[in-house]
Symmetry: D2
């Protein structure tokens, strides 16, 4: 149960079978630095390149293909008093006929007031001079090496995780990834100080951070898509285009979860899901969109667990 | 400010320019009975036909094309101790390869315990014998006559409202519809005792009800899609397939709202939306899917209203 | 087997249960005038209104719900030496990031040289001064009254036909529509002198015309979507968004056709379709997109017709 | 201008920066053996693994990032008298409610009569005992190494080519790929003896082959997506889901082509495309669907080439 401090010296723009940056044991904790989506670190230096340069990979001893890697997200500490966003909605989230109403996309700077836990525009338009948002940090891009020897751009996502840009990936969540290679090869980066549903300006408030996480390997348990659990709910994430297909993936993964772990069949699981499911549109910007399918633990009360 | 009691004797399966069932004044309140999605009333009689037989239309005096009709949803009272759902997930919400895992779709009966405000399956599988859900009533299908003399099936939805099946259409919400014909011609029905996001079994818990609503006409204000406001947030609803397009409609409508009513331009509105928007997938079952774009009133704090 | 000449005095912008403009017998032929998509006739007068004002409805004696109406498209004669298009690609058919490269959409006039059977821009840019296109007339919008008493805008389409904008609806084709009301109530209009796949500028070359068609009722045969047959192939048309769903409708309808009329089961029909199907993207502009699924008659050679 | 004969000893299941199997010069020709989609060769041995094991990569001397690689497809010779398909339509190409009508997917064997150039089922159902199809070979999967050091599964496709499964990739076509790495690293395999539009059973008639191709490097010309040219037309291919987005990519690439090479601006190019574009749905089965946007050379007659 060692705690490691890790400051990356190399960054990757693909999730793939790159040489391990650190080998850690099942149960270990890591406090890792991450740079922002364009590679700027806490000091404003630029050791990484866009898109979404990754810290890692971490080789988790004992993780083998068809296991599940559980990553507990601990503290996400802001390490830089600045962040950036784009200043207009992405052209794909408005009606095609409205696209021409927007000026060209530009980076905009934000001030992150770490003490107050608020972020505000550095040069706001007059209408927003008194406006700010809460800092609620989340991990934009993280995951494990994909199967088949693939190395896939950190701009997109898949069964292995990747650039899901889901605000639900925040402190206190256990995230599960399907392991495809020995050691799992876990990567993380692209922290956002805040982000709406859908990441509809194409960014959160992009910044550098220090993320604490710990890992656990569940042997012999294969899952299909990333899953999560927090204090009040369980959720699955599907990544694809259009949103309809991302939703199909997330819904099917939740169905499989309820059947496998709660002793239900397709009909009983449908009854619960049909009254209790909540969906989040995580991002509707990246090459693969992401949809989360959630169920409150409360909604599972009264279920007789045959399996247990 | 009259309060009317209305028990329908005829039902419509299209939203269109049908003869008014009741003429009411701007500001009036109506307590109206509705039957379930297949036409069964509080007594189990079947005065209506599927799909979603509508109570109405109500002719609101003074409402003209390009006005906005505001409908405040008051109490939604359950009038029948039973409801029904389908028992399996709809084939379009799971991976195509998983469709064959489900038995054929069948109606399933639920007991609605009005005193306890809970609903449970009448003949649950053993795994669900102790499982129940809260009753949180909502209106599945409501809206006004569409433009161009159209009469459109209550199975689907559009700018005029219709079968949006959004759990956010519940007690306490002000819903805004764009008026296309004199008198607006407002219809309602298809109440659900409970429903998940997405209406993924193809139904909520379908039942008969008594709905209290009041109307207000905003003269000379034209909106593009249904809007809503409750105690904590404002929202817009877009109806289309795929989800991506429903989201584009809802997002563009929210953009237009912020610009028109909050004195913002495209950039300032984008800044707010980019950190504050929440999306709900209302239904992913009907011919047109529905997506809600929400913004908390809290997230608008600090905005300088030029316009006001 | 009467031949009627029909010059409309009223036009409709919905396909619905409007009063018959002319009653005709099974087997009759009609030579009918149509106006262009904005209501301009052969003389440049404007007796109709946008969108797509319809000539009709024609009440076909003997047609009843669940019959099939077969419309043979005969000559489509250009009656006006001018037409019009939009001058830029529709924003929904290019990458969202490319939308802002185009100027605002404007009507552009074309000269239709009826003798030469060619069309050219009235005021071409220098690069196109020697460029012209063949005149290959087609019917943009036609169909029958939909079910459930609906009246649906001629901007869109459905099982009943409508604004499918398919260049395959041209002289020599037998088109089949599912009948939903007594008399079928057939409408037509919106002739194009030429149109690409997809109708990607949002119009064909829109013009007035005189269309000859004859009708035949197939009693007791219910179909799901419009079908067609020409000298070399059979085809089905599905109308929906996104293209994926329009394709699903057309493919399922072709499957049902092969099974019902060629004595095949799902497997045998799949074998043929899997090597022989051709798809046309009819339009990718209207509220419902249209996809045609085609099979050459040659590809059906050697099929043993159990049913016959 | 050397002609190489190449028999692969290793196969790849990703397009990526693997070590060159053969270095060839700009202008060279290669006669290369390919195995089928599951790795079976001409003798029925299985030296490769699914999915779509690739022959290559071929390092083309002089090719650098932002050049274009032109691959001329010469003879595609069938080397095995057998092939295979799946026997039912893929669940994603029919209405979701029709999926359960099909039996489970199974491989089905075909006889390829090389002399007669026809293919027929080895054990046909009675209805198809006299039915056969023409052999019209095409390359299912080919392309170059993607950018950013990615290695991407041969199940899918992107800007770099890949598993596009387009029947237009046949003898006589010049195919253009955007080069992302030194030497381009060209791969090919997955030949089909026949395939419909859409690859709607999930396969063509999968078989081994011997493909003759020659390469040419166009220096300093960067393209966005695969392009092709044959005796009668030019075309572009977009790869994405849903079909709508694949179509947007292909359409935008064609627009860029016309502007760059034919001296047109957005309006003039739109005029041509708006009357002349044809679309092919190449595949609607793989993780990324593929759509081709075609223009007949005849449709470009009369265009004044400012640029030339």
């Amino acid at each position: 149960m060692t705690t490691h401090r890790f400051s990356p010296t190399a960054f990757y723009n693909t999730l793939g079978s790159h040489p391990p940056a650190l080998r850690i044991a099942d149960g270990d904790t890591v406090i890792a630095e991450t740079v922002d989506a364009r590679g700027f670190d806490r000091h404003g230096n630029k050791p990484g390149e866009r898109p979404n340069p990754m810290t890692g990979p971490f080789f988790i001893e004992g993780a083998e293909p068809d296991d599940t890697l559980v990553v507990n997200i601990g503290a996400i500490r802001m390490t830089r008093p600045t962040g950036w966003t784009f200043q207009v909605l992405s052209p794909n989230v408005v009606d095609p006929g409205a696209v021409s109403r927007f000026p060209e996309r530009e980076k905009t700077e934000w001030i992150i007031d770490i003490a107050a836990n608020r972020a505000r525009l550095q040069s706001p338009p007059p209408s927003l001079k008194d406006w700010s948002v809460a800092v609620e940090p989340m991990i934009g891009c993280f995951g494990v090496a994909p199967d088949m020897g693939q190395a896939i751009s950190t701009a997109t996502s898949g069964r292995y995780g990747g650039n899901m840009d889901y605000r639900g990936f925040c402190t206190g969540v256990d995230v599960m990834f399907p392991v495809s290679v020995p050691g799992a090869l876990f990567y993380l980066g692209d922290v956002h100080a805040q982000q709406c549903d859908g990441e509809i300006v194409g960014t959160g408030i992009e910044t550098a951070a220090e993320v604490t996480f710990s890992v656990k390997v569940v042997k012999g348990k294969a899952i299909g898509w990333p899953r999560g659990r927090n204090a009040t709910e369980i959720f699955t994430v599907g990544n694809a285009r259009p949103l309809d297909q991302a939703l199909q993936h997330a819904t099917t993964e939740m169905l499989d979860w309820l059947i496998a772990d709660y002793g239900l069949d397709e009909v009983a699981a449908s009854h619960i899901m049909g009254q209790a499911v909540r969906y989040d549109i995580a991002n509707v910007f990246n090459p693969a969109y992401s949809v989360a399918c959630r169920i409150a633990l409360d909604a599972l009360k009264g279920v007789t667990r045959y399996a247990s």
